[in-house]
């Protein structure tokens, strides 16, 4: 028995007891519906009587069955749940392709200014001139960094930006009598959103193989081009973490064939302020503000995916957009001429625009370039420290902002890429991206971002090397049983998919509501 009262020494203690409610710092937290009920509430509202004469007979008859908590219970529930999450603020997220960088808190503070947070999207334009000026300023930064002609700010996330950009391409080709072009070229290493977007717009997808060095061969593109091809969707830097060295030649070949070049800008963090995609010949590119420009991922959104457009596509930008003239700023809300209609209600992700612009102003043009260079430096540092032990599928070249490894160093160990990644959890790190890109067997994609210090990178590399040594020493159990130190052990995903339980189900009959 150990005690720790009033200065008594704490003994180590021995016990066979296994806690069923977790520890005091990481408690098991019941579901909201197991702790709340239909009577409790954390708000005080006057209870007004209504007569129903304006409700047209549509008053609610069915039960709702929502659980309520008072404010202290609410705080405790959500604070306890939050402690079961890994986060950037608690450790490094080496997730390739995801750009998990620091989220400055000034961004949050600015987004909550009433002049941004408490304005309605349909207020008279004369009452929101500051908001339009802010959007215009963000647009100026994006256009300057990319050297493009126009930007559509409204896409709600990267995939939505892809959709907007590809719609502009389709509209431009329809307008030019090229509507028969029904094929989109997509390299095998592309993000899943690329083929999904192309298919959504009715295109068939044709894969372009990669070379042995992980990049796209301009000759392979030329061979795939035909009068049926509408566009190529190419990620640059690509998903193997490599800059496409022939990107300018690829753009020229694509344009010569009458097609457009859609660039997936998910990896813009590697080159912002260093290379302008417009100089490479791109026609459209979305920019994930939640990656490159530090708006928080929030456990899966909200994102924001503005898409920049070349002069050829600018006339087809979806509405709305800010119009500048001599007088006050205006908002083009209705598609005129060749412009596409809305892809969302209202004006897009204003709250994310504020955060992204705040981040840009903090860094300045100089700081953004430095951030890109540091992101690339960090990835190459990890690659340099690990490549003697970890297998690198495309050796002999510097990487950009992410370092790609494969699983051949694990051959014969009985440890899979997944096992290895889960073992990282026990060492205090979030796993890296696994099994993506698909072109590399057992891929491990590590993106440190510019936010990690050398000390953190060294600790990460030390852990990775130690794990690799242990895996090869035959200690497979450490990996196959991992994680042991997380709030949960490995979860049965097959069971979840085979018999889906997607909401809490009441076991007892619903008691009558008392108010």
């Amino acid at each position: 028995m150990s005690m720790n009262n009033q200065g008594r020494p704490t003994g180590v203690g021995t016990s066979d007891f296994t806690s069923t409610s977790g520890s005091s710092l990481l408690p098991n937290e019941p579901l909201l519906f197991e702790i709340g009920d239909r009577e409790h509430s954390g708000v005080d509202l006057p209870d007004v009587a209504i007569d129903g004469s304006f409700l047209g007979g549509f008053e609610r008859q069915s039960e709702i069955d929502l659980a309520g908590l008072t404010e202290p219970e609410t705080l405790r529930h959500y604070v306890r749940l939050s402690r079961l999450n890994y986060s950037i603020d608690s450790g490094m997220y080496p997730l390739g392709s995801c750009t998990m960088k620091h989220n400055p808190r000034l961004n949050e503070k600015m987004a909550r200014l009433p002049g941004f947070a408490d304005i309605h999207p349909l207020q008279p334009v004369s009452t929101v001139q500051g908001a339009l000026a802010m959007m215009d300023e963000l647009a100026h930064w994006l256009l300057t960094l990319t050297n493009t002609a126009a930007v559509c700010l409204t896409p709600k996330a990267g995939a939505h930006g892809e959709m907007a950009g590809m719609m502009a391409i389709k509209a431009a080709q329809d307008a030019a009598g090229q509507g028969h072009r029904k094929v989109v070229l997509v390299p095998e290493s592309a993000h899943g959103t690329n083929p999904a977007t192309a298919a959504f717009l009715g295109y068939s997808v044709k894969a372009v193989p990669a070379r042995d060095d992980g990049t796209v061969d301009v000759e392979a593109v030329k061979a795939a081009l035909s009068p049926d091809v509408a566009a190529i969707m190419l990620t640059n830097p690509n998903t193997c973490g490599l800059f496409e060295p022939e990107v300018i030649e690829i753009a020229a070949a694509v344009h010569a064939a009458g097609a457009f070049f859609y660039c997936d800008g998910a990896n813009f963090n590697a080159i912002m302020g260093v290379v302008r995609p417009g100089d490479l010949g791109i026609d459209a590119m979305h920019i994930n503000l939640h990656k490159t420009f530090s708006t928080p991922h929030g456990g899966g959104g909200p994102g924001a995916g503005p898409v920049v457009l070349s002069a050829a596509l600018a006339p087809f930008a979806p509405v709305p957009f800010v119009k500048k003239g001599d007088g006050p700023l205006a908002l083009a809300e209705h598609a005129e001429g060749q412009h596409l209609g809305r892809i969302t209600a209202f004006n897009g992700q204003m709250g994310m625009y504020v955060r992204a612009l705040t981040y840009m102003l903090s860094h300045g043009g100089d700081g953004l370039a430095q951030a890109a260079k540091d992101a690339v430096l960090n990835a190459n540092y990890i690659k340099a420290r690990l490549e003697r032990v970890f297998s690198v599928p495309f050796p002999g070249q510097p990487c950009m902002h992410e370092a790609l490894f494969d699983d051949s160093f694990l051959e014969g160990t009985g440890v899979s890429t997944l096992d290895f990644a889960k073992a990282l959890i026990d060492e205090g790190f979030h796993p890296m991206t696994m099994y993506f890109p698909l072109v590399v067997h057992g891929a491990m994609l590590v993106e440190p971002t510019e936010s990690e210090s050398k000390q953190t990178l060294d600790r990460f590399c030390d852990v990775m090397l130690e794990l690799a040594t242990d895996a090869r020493a035959g200690n497979a159990a450490r990996f196959t049983s991992a994680p042991l130190n997380a709030p949960r052990r490995r979860l049965d995903e097959t069971r979840a998919a085979r018999s889906p339980v997607l909401k809490w189900e009441r076991q007892e009959p619903l008691p009558a509501a008392a108010e």
């Binding site: 008859q61 002049g115 304005i119 080159i271 991922h297 899966g300 209202f346 909401k503």
Partner: protein, 451 residues
């Protein structure tokens, strides 16, 4: 640079480990002439206080909704968000977490999503809900595509009471053609859709309360749709209404999509918001977006994972149900926390209070000469007709710091029937003084106009 951890000394050490001479060597595969020789022509980095001053100056040029009487709704509503909601969502573990692909270290987000799905399913009266969409308008477009997959039919009919922005988004997603029927605006709440349904129809889309505030008869719509083998998609842009108005699921809806902004989320000039989507269990494999499901871990403890991902783009690529990836996790969290604080009792009170204030607004508007209320039914929003075009009146009132509602002509510029119409909303934040001020200003504006 306060966000970049390396000193010059450390950068040099790291380059030495890499075996590179300079940072530029790492960009060796970039075509030489594509590398910028000069810095981009943008301002240099700035201290926090200067950035703050700049952003505050921009924000200061906007009239915030809280600065005066405010009656704009039309798909985005000004409600009170409890202080604890914004505090909680700014906790690092919520704000700076990634999508929960690694469930062992993401149980907080996953359990929250499971609770969110339960709340949304119960609120809408449906069997299952997903883990959120971008917003109500894109959720509507995704619901329409889902209905096409489910029915293998193509024709979609949009009610004239659907929010014009939502209609426009569906048009952009689907393209114009005979398979998309957009019925003309129906500001009087006229029943317009039932006799348009035919054997080719995949789904009809009905909003309630509709854009003009009318409460729509969903049971009749469901019966007519189902009789023709079509689906009923119900759109709710004001989720607070579900505390007082019958759940679409109880009236035969097949897919329900909502804009969830009213609960937990600020106006934000239009985004980020949170789309809700709920449906029947038999339809889940055609549902877009993320789903969270319950399971157990290796020790047999209850846990949660993202599931049925074989519908999604990262697995199915061009065969996915949607290209959606990132959605509205943090806004869903804000929704879920606020809904937990309200609970069933609080939501019902909030809904009654909204309706109560709207009744006061309607009655006061009825006293203004020349103003005609078009609604026989409403929740917290209604349409009035003025004897004159509405937009200049709204501008005039804005100069007096009264944001009096939305002139419908802003969204329906080519429809003369809408020129004199204003859509107005009241919420729990609307005071008697606000309503009196509106009536007074409207009266003054209309009498001035008459002179």
């Amino acid at each position: 640079m306060r966000y970049l951890p390396h000193s010059e000394h450390e950068r040099a050490d790291m380059l030495a480990v890499i075996g590179a001479g300079t940072a530029e060597d790492l960009f060796a595969r970039v075509p030489r002439h594509a590398l910028l020789r000069e810095p981009v022509n943008l301002p240099r980095h700035a201290p926090e206080f200067l950035v703050e001053a700049h952003m505050k100056a921009l924000a200061g040029r906007n009239h915030a909704a809280g600065d005066g009487p405010f009656f704009i709704g039309a798909g985005a509503y000004r409600h009170h968000v409890p202080a604890s909601v914004d505090h909680l969502i700014q906790r690092s573990e919520w704000l700076t977490a990634y999508t929960p692909y690694q469930p062992e270290v993401s149980q907080g987000t996953l359990q929250m999503l499971f609770e969110f799905q339960t709340q949304v399913a119960h609120l809408t009266g449906m069997e299952v809900a997903n883990a959120s969409m971008y917003d109500g308008s894109t959720a509507t477009a995704e619901a329409v595509l889902m209905a096409r997959r489910l029915t293998r039919r193509n024709r979609i009919i949009l009610s004239g009471g659907l929010h014009p922005h939502y209609r426009d988004v569906v048009r952009t997603y689907l393209g114009d053609g005979p398979d998309l029927v957009c019925l003309p605006a129906s500001p009087e709440g006229q029943g317009d859709i039932l006799n348009r349904i035919d054997g080719e129809t995949a789904a009809i889309v009905v909003q309630t309360p509709d854009f003009y505030g009318h409460l729509r008869n969903l049971r009749a719509a469901a019966d007519a749709a189902h009789a023709a083998g079509a689906l009923l998609i119900v759109v709710v842009t004001e989720v607070v209404s579900l505390g007082l108005i019958e759940a679409p699921g109880a009236l035969g809806a097949d897919i329900v999509v909502c804009e969830g902004q009213s609960i937990g989320n600020s106006l934000n000039f239009g985004g980020p918001y949170v789309g809700l989507m709920a449906t029947r269990k038999e339809f889940i494999r055609q549902m877009p977006g993320r789903l969270c499901g319950e399971t157990v871990d290796a020790d047999g403890n209850r846990g949660f994972v993202l599931t049925l991902s074989t519908r999604e783009q990262h697995i199915r690529r061009e065969k996915a149900t949607s290209n959606i990836c990132t959605n509205s996790g943090l806004c869903a969290l804000a929704f879920s926390i606020h809904m937990s604080l309200l609970g069933e009792a609080g939501l019902k009170k909030l809904a009654r209070l909204n309706h109560h204030n709207a009744v006061k607004l309607a009655k006061m508007l009825g006293t203004v000469p020349g103003v005609e209320l078009l609604n026989k039914s409403f929740f917290n929003e209604m349409t009035i007709r003025l004897p004159v075009p509405a937009a200049p009146v709204i501008e005039l009132l804005a100069k007096a710091d009264v944001l009096a509602g939305l002139p419908v002509s802003r969204l329906e510029p080519d429809n003369p029937a809408c020129e004199n119409l204003i859509v107005l909303a009241a919420t729990e934040l609307t005071t008697d003084d606000d309503i009196a001020m509106l009536a007074e200003c409207l009266h003054a504006a209309l009498s001035e106009d008459a002179q």
